[in-house]
């Protein structure tokens, strides 16, 4: 599979030349394949949000370079093409809703792309349906009358309506209830399947990573310290806890069982897998 984002020795420095100078990204190299679901994890201040802001040119490298869909993000002439290819959903995106109705809010991006009215309507309806909002009912309402979870989904629909090739979500489920989280992740997976989009998810929720991601990149103090499949990453428990991260709860349980000397698999991630392992364990002792 071809790479859609190529990061080569990327460094970023905040407030360079001042006493407050902070190196927030330190020589990061990473290839992200087209169509992959990548999770980026790391403790607060590890550089996750700074990294993803380089993917659509909001920030440009202090050193090294970033190419997205073949475009060098430092090339200002290519900005417009870059923004069309990369959708970025910020933390708490519901704070960025501003239009009178959900429809006009979601339509804002497509309208700026110069599409016809019919195309705009089609895209808005499709995006609203993707996030589970009723295109006829919810679209007429003011975004400020919706509940927190619905506002979040409306805001994400505004980015999906652009049909980006790369969709970046910065902690999209923080503050949502468990069902809201599950649904949102389902919608995102559906968008990926339908559009063949690449998904980049910044999150603190290890269960979410275990369930959704194909690849995981781990940052610590601005450096890329691990990259691999979730099972590989979560098998390195000691290294993760040392940098303020953790295993998904079921993986933690199975690990502790192993430390007690019980014969269990080492690569368990989900509650279903943990249940399976414990059932096997109990079954054997009962036999």
């Amino acid at each position: 599979m071809s790479s859609i984002i190529e990061i080569d020795k990327l460094s970023h420095i905040y407030s360079p030349g001042t006493p407050f100078q902070v190196t927030s990204l330190d020589s990061i190299s990473l290839d992200i394949k087209k169509g992959v679901f990548l999770a980026i994890i790391g403790s607060t201040g590890s550089g996750k949000s700074t990294l993803v802001r380089h993917f659509n040119g909001l920030l440009t490298p202090a050193a090294g370079n970033v190419r997205v869909c073949g475009i060098d993000t430092a090339d200002k002439k290519q900005r417009r093409n870059l923004w069309r290819s990369v959708g970025l959903v910020f933390q708490q995106p519901e704070h960025q809703l501003f239009e009178e109705t959900v429809f006009t809010d979601v339509a804002f991006g497509p309208r700026n792309m110069g599409l016809t009215e019919a195309e705009i309507t089609e895209r808005v309806h499709e995006a609203l349906r993707l996030v589970g909002l009723d295109p006829l009912e919810a679209a007429r309402m003011s975004p400020f009358c919706l509940s927190g979870g619905m506002r979040r989904r409306a805001a994400i629909a505004g980015v999906l309506a652009l049909k980006p090739q790369v969709l970046i979500l910065d902690e999209p489920t923080a503050g949502l209830d468990p069902q809201g989280k599950r649904q949102l992740m389902k919608h995102i997976e559906e968008f990926r399947r339908r559009e063949g989009a690449t998904i980049i998810l910044v999150t603190h929720d290890m269960e979410e990573v275990a369930l959704m991601a194909e690849r995981v990149a781990v940052l610590n103090r601005g450096r890329l310290v691990m990259e691999g499949k979730p099972r590989e990453i979560f098998s390195r428990a000691a290294e993760l806890t040392a940098i303020g991260l953790d295993l998904p709860a079921p993986a933690r349980l199975i690990r502790q069982l192993r430390l007690l000397g019980k014969p269990v698999r080492t690569d368990v991630l989900t509650t279903a897998e943990a249940e399976e392992e414990i059932a096997r364990l109990l079954g054997e002792t009962q036999c």
Binding site: S43, T44, S147, G148, P178, Q179, G244, L245, E275, I278
Partner: protein
Amino acid sequence: MTMTESNGTGYLRGCPESQDSQLTAHDRDEIFIAVEDLTYIYNHDKAGGHRALSGIDLAVKAGEFLVVAGPNGSGKSTLARHFNAMLKPSGGRVIVAGMDTMIPENAWEIRRRVGMVFQNPDNQIVSSLVEEDAAFGAENLGLPSEEVKKRVEETLRLIGLSQYAKHAPHLLSGGQKQKLAIAGVLVMRPSCLVLDEPTSMLDPAGRVELMETLIRLNRTMQVTVVLVTHFMEEAVLADRVVVLSDGRIAVSGSPARVFAEVELLAELGLKLPAALEIAHGLRKRGFSLPQEILTMDDILAYLKNN
């Protein structure tokens, strides 16, 4: 998280009666916040007002660790905002430490007794030095500066931020910022902390750090804690859990009692804590696990001996 779980359950094991019955030792204690038939309607005076709470009856006991859970839009934050008179009832009453929140003269004293901490740590910082930020509330009480200084020192030590006193708050981690927000409230010596999803923006280590701090404040300083959260792993550590749905109390009681309502919780879109989900799955497969299982440590302890 592992540490929280073991510590938390350790504490809970100290008062076994809280496991299976709502009639805990707290019932003999004083009621700190009494909520009587509370109704709240947003835009009450306008057409199309939205009813967020209906007929809530609830007593928060002094020294209790209470979790308020429920789906988005169920009224959790609206309820929490009644506890320090940020919102006033459309119907019914809220009495805090004997004071009615409807009476404007009570607001000052109620807010001194009940401190609020919110979701986003960055929105709650007012100063460019940790110790100044922590002092803000106490200075507003008009306390002599010696007293403010003493309280800030004490509080930062208690909360584990002493070594950062002279640091800029924006250089703290998320968990440390939330602890600073708590410190800013604690210097006013409140009897109760109300926290609205304080861990939802924190990384795993920050979450553990904050929960340990809350449990410590509750157990050693007898601070009443009301925690609004979506994380069921946190709810398990409480004395009592109240689940709201559509502005009403759907179920309340000890964590063991509330989490036994597997079907109701699923209907409300809430998730069981992972440990309970695993235990529930195993029971369905025909294994008889003890009913007291709440946390991963409980499962471990059971498996150790079986």
